[in-house]
Amino acid sequence: MKEHIFASYTNKETFEKITDYSCINQMWSEAAANYGDRVALVDGQDYTFAQLDKMVASFRALLTQKGVKPGDVVGVYLPNCIEFAKAYLAITTMGACAVLLPPHLDNMTVFGCSMKFGMKALVYSSALEEKLDIVKAKNPALPLIEGGESCEDAAAGVDCPGPAVCTVLFTGGTTGKSKGAKLSHQAILEGVKNGCYGYPEVFGQRYLLVLPLTHVFGLVRNLMASLRTGSTLFICRNNKDMFRDIAVFKPTIMVLVPALAEMALNLSKQFGRNMLGEDMKTIICGAAAVAPYLVTEYKKIGITLLPGYGLTESACLVSGNPEAMRKPDSVGLIYPGIDYKIVDGELWLKGKTMMSGYVGDEENEIAYSADGYFKTGDLVRMDEEGFLYITGRSKEIIVLSSGENISPAELESYFYAMDEVQDCLVYADNSDGREVLAIQLLPRAVTIKALGITDVEGYLKEKVAQVNQKLPAFQRINKVVIRDADFVRSPSMKIVRSQNG
């Protein structure tokens, strides 16, 4: 039998422990039984696997009392905290589906989601309660459960079929328009399993969580991978305290977006000490392009940085690079079990780890090929050893180094609505050595003249400032370029993003 391509990167005993589970209840039951007295989570205090299991069983009973049944949809509107882990495990192990709402969502969106997803209950944090006013007013029948609530009873978990959907995560997807990706038990568990490949020390690690649990990288590669491997996860409540938390907790592994990995490296250089602590051995880095120098610079301080590639739609990792020192610009080898093909340079994916589609049908038609492959929108090449390289993006989405996704089309729509703007283009500008969101605006001469505007640049910059006021900080446009000539266009007269920006 052909050897597993990741088998040689850890010892035999560890490798054989990386096994399959059919559903989250099966995985969690086994983890709780195997690692009972071990600390599973640290959030202000220690919670052992056994204690967490009890909390989960009690919360399942509470959800049942509130009318939640297997197959129902339950919203989770919590920041990173022990209650998030408890609620997520309880919902998924009772056969229901958790819709994970990012804490930055506003009142109207939370209400909209409660209706769109047909939620039967919503678990919330008291810190976010003021944003539930519209839900309370317009959807008064929806049971609202504060994350810290518990009950005296306990309810057993149930096994589910692997393909049953258990999680909905928000993503910009291929078009950039925010939507929910439906992930099954088997997709989540494949994502967790794949995350165990490619480095030597997998089980019994100490993870420190800084990424949001509503992001696939935080949920699958941090929380679920940590629980799956009998590791301890320290929940950093405020990222500004991450290095103080590191000094106390001494993590051995962290999952970071490139911008955070770069920040930790620069701070270490500046302050003359390894800010990630002496016990840190492994950094899993992804969710945006990883600069090759991060691999070599981290090696110098004894830390292995492993670049990977994944999507919300693939329940986390599609590939991981166990040979990062030899091939630092590669995102690695595609994990076994993922069926892929490269069509006109674009990576297409199929397999157990892939989502079950987006919520609502309209986006699904364009997301899949006729033969059922998910079209990632990422342009790739593969070398003779099977290592994958991302060469560009065919999809119209900007991924900032902080891992945040920006839909240019969504931002541009604000400006297309203005009579004074003929055409526009939003892009990531790196020309000054740092990444900022920029816009090129082509003024509509007729309107500008009719309005008697003389300072066109000042006028349009003011318009951009007004739009910025409405946007969350990471979506704001920091650079404005006023064009005096038309954009480079395709034969069909579309603006060619790659040749403008």
Partner: protein, 82 residues
């Protein structure tokens, strides 16, 4: 520590966070917005806060982090803490 000393030290921190672009910080107004004018994203702000804490030996309150919007506010906040 007076305002000038804080600004000088802060200039070095901005340079670390933003690269050479920060060279013109001293000429920029204290009203310059960290996000809109200096282009700091969420990680940039985090980087700034951590570097200030390390360099000045102070600790930001949670309120302080979200309320600081301009260079001038950062300077005043540091002054109130050192």
């Amino acid at each position: 520590m007076d305002k000038e000393q804080i600004l000088e030290k802060l200039g070095g921190i901005f340079k670390m966070v933003m690269g050479e672009n920060a060279a013109n910080l001293e000429t920029s107004s204290e009203n310059a917005s960290l996000v809109d004018d200096l282009g700091l994203n969420s990680v940039g702000i985090l980087y700034l806060v951590i570097a200030i804490e390390e360099s000045f030996g102070i600790r930001f309150d949670d309120v302080g982090t979200s309320d600081l919007k301009t260079v001038g506010q950062v300077v005043e906040y540091i002054r109130s803490k050192v």
